[in-house]
Symmetry: C2
Subunit: 417 residues, 2 copies
């Protein structure tokens, strides 16, 4: 199968490319490297050193003996999207090329607009491109469990049976996102669902839980490492806690810390995406997978991190800074996740063992963490319309407003292999 991965340079795009190549699939990637730039924008970098993309391609060739075809460009550029799809005619597209940080989207009006405009535009371009160039291709679109918010009921996978005033229907489950970023994912879901209906496209919409981890079995060489973000803007909760422990800082679950979320190990997220790809839906089918392995409160994760930290001679405390987000700090949380299990998903990594593995790697890169230790604590405030002054106070180069509405349009590049 030929798979196009948009956002192939990213945290999950890169290990997915390695995993699919190792399984014998043909992989084409595209990226505009905007995440590398935006992580610099908030004064941070990846804890793991990441080679340039051409060097990544060389490493893939040398270590895996595989070719990874690459197109440099942005999904916000329609001609680029059409060129890539009509040239490559993939059997499936895994769409990971979106602005993926909730705090980034909450910095100020420009970051809010950029997030929603860029994500929507990229998805619409992909949908039209698929319709025009390869309508039978399977779109696997990365969404987030955060689309659902935290309702006081179980959370089904996308749809549920409704009874209202004596009549019944099977309808999309209500969405209640908690940031402009999370709303952009809700909007994407609407557009993808609609495109499958009017054009008969086939799509899997992945409500992804929070991913943790730094390794997959294919990462057998440091040149194949994926990025690992630990700052408040780009790092996810568990990854960030471990970085804090390595830095000798307190771990910081926000507020009461009883916020529960679904989590999944990087390797098992790759397993899930591969299952989706290898079991495509029918033409016209729009299916939703809640892609997480287990739900934990952030307190549970902080406590686990502190416990494992002690094995490494570290002794972190746990602080509870005021929650910068607007979210319930105590709530019911029970999302269903049967669709992947029915297709053969099984947990391959245990949480504690992955946490230990992350400690091993981060301790190796401790100096890269120390050089950016000021970016770990929260500054972006959900209740404020402009967090740039706070970011500026934290480090000398405050984020510049992204170029509004035309965020990334590098010239469409030729494929390189």
């Amino acid at each position: 199968m030929k798979v196009l991965i948009t956002g192939v340079d990213g945290y999950s795009g890169w290990p997915l490319a390695l995993h699919l190549l190792a399984r014998g699939h043909e992989v084409v990637g595209l990226d505009n490297f905007v995440t590398r730039r935006r992580v610099r924008e908030v004064g941070s970098w990846s804890a793991t050193p990441i080679p340039s993309f051409p060097r990544r391609q060389v490493a893939v060739r040398e270590v895996l003996g595989k070719e990874l075809v690459f197109h440099r460009g942005s999904l916000t550029d329609w001609e680029f999207v059409r060129n890539v799809l009509s040239t490559e005619r993939p059997d499936a597209v895994v769409h990971l090329a979106e602005q993926r940080s909730a705090p980034y989207s909450m910095i100020d009006v420009h970051h809010a607009v950029t997030t929603q405009v860029e994500n929507l535009t990229g998805t619409l371009h992909l949908l039209y491109g698929l319709r025009e160039c390869c309508p039978g291709a399977h779109l696997v679109k990365m969404g987030t469990m955060g689309e659902y918010g935290t309702p006081n009921t179980d959370i089904p996978e996308g749809f549920f049976d409704v009874e209202f005033r004596g009549r019944k229907d099977h309808l999309p489950f209500p969405r209640q996102a908690g940031s402009w970023y999370h709303w952009s994912k809700v909007f994407d879901s609407g557009d993808v669902m609609f495109a499958t209906r009017i054009w008969g496209l086939r799509a899997t919409d992945v409500m992804q839980g929070v991913i943790y981890g730094v390794r997959t079995p294919e990462i057998t060489d440091d040149r194949l490492l994926t990025r690992f973000d630990f700052d408040e803007t780009w790092g996810t909760a568990l990854n960030r806690f471990i970085a804090q422990a390595v830095l000798g800082l307190p771990l910081t679950p926000y507020g009461k810390g009883e916020q529960k979320r679904g989590f999944i190990a990087l390797e098992d997220s790759m397993q899930s995406l591969t299952i989706a790809l290898e079991h495509p839906p029918s033409p016209g089918e729009y299916r939703v997978f809640n892609q997480f392995d287990a739900a934990y409160s952030v307190n549970e994760l902080a406590e686990l991190t502190a416990r494992v930290a002690r094995e490494f001679g570290l002794n972190p405390t746990i602080d509870h800074p005021p929650d910068p987000r607007v979210e319930a700090e105590q709530h019911y949380y029970h999302p269903l996740h049967d669709h992947l299990l029915a297709l053969g998903y099984h947990r391959t990594r245990e949480l504690e063992e992955v946490v230990r593995e992350i400690f091993h790697d981060l301790l190796r890169f401790r100096r890269r963490l120390q050089a950016r230790r000021h970016v770990v604590l929260p500054t972006v405030q959900w209740r404020m319309p402009d967090s740039r002054p706070l970011l500026a106070a934290r480090h000398p180069t405050a984020p510049a407003p992204p170029s509004e509405n035309a965020p990334e349009s590098p010239p469409a590049g030729s494929p390189t292999a």
Copy 2:
């Protein structure tokens, strides 16, 4: 009360300005005149002759003895939005400045992107502007009943009680829109709901039914007429049927014609918006009004139009061209609309008398209709990714792709009065 109307040059923005001025409110308007340009883009114009905006202001002064302050600019321009809000500090904002045509959004990829990007960007800019300049102002945002689609249950006003797997919550009603335009309204609703939650803004989200009519009591002079669109792209069903009858063309309910929708007379829509303005919600409250008066099938409206047409010596037939949209042609439809009734809404115009009134006006402007008679029949096809060739075959100037992602950014103008 000082009310800012965005999109004051439009079909409902203009009569709303007149109505609020006549009631003694202070009115400030803004517009970028993009609807005038886009109606030309599809080869059409308003059946009613519309003066330039400066002439409209003069007419308001002479006929109503009132001043209508105006700012020319686009909501996609953040500095313009902030300048207007910080200068004017309105008590309420009625947000009508969006791309409002479903067929326009379905022409091709560029029109899809422009519609969603422009509508989302404008709404986000307004929300941030309100937060920064006048957080107590009441935002009345124009949505559409089309956000809900046609579920097989009653449709509540925004929220409903859910019971799922033995647990209960009060959640947003699922949205299932039927065009990129309708989805853009769903997205707006999400953003407005979220802004009320994080910042304590107050908002009324109006799920507007299809508006029909050409007159309100304040339109006592032809210079005060509002625009009246009759082409397939910009005209709504009933308005378009009457134009077809005047032109001696068959009336064209699409497909089976049993699609039901909520409708409301222009004058009663103004009444509803005024009720919303004069009964604002509390800070932090997000409330939804289903703003329509009665539900009809398009067949019922076509039959009524044909019957009234005969009073005017016209004798239209009724055709059923294949439905260009993707929608259920027969379905259950029972939306609730109690919120406005509870605040004192009452029907002031009967459907048949408004239809008769529209015939009177359109017969006066018959020559303007005849000059553009080729734009009434459907060409934009929901199932096709690009309807530009069809539009081009219909009239010599096919729509050019709108400038992507930066649709309208005239320089922020100074207020004129």
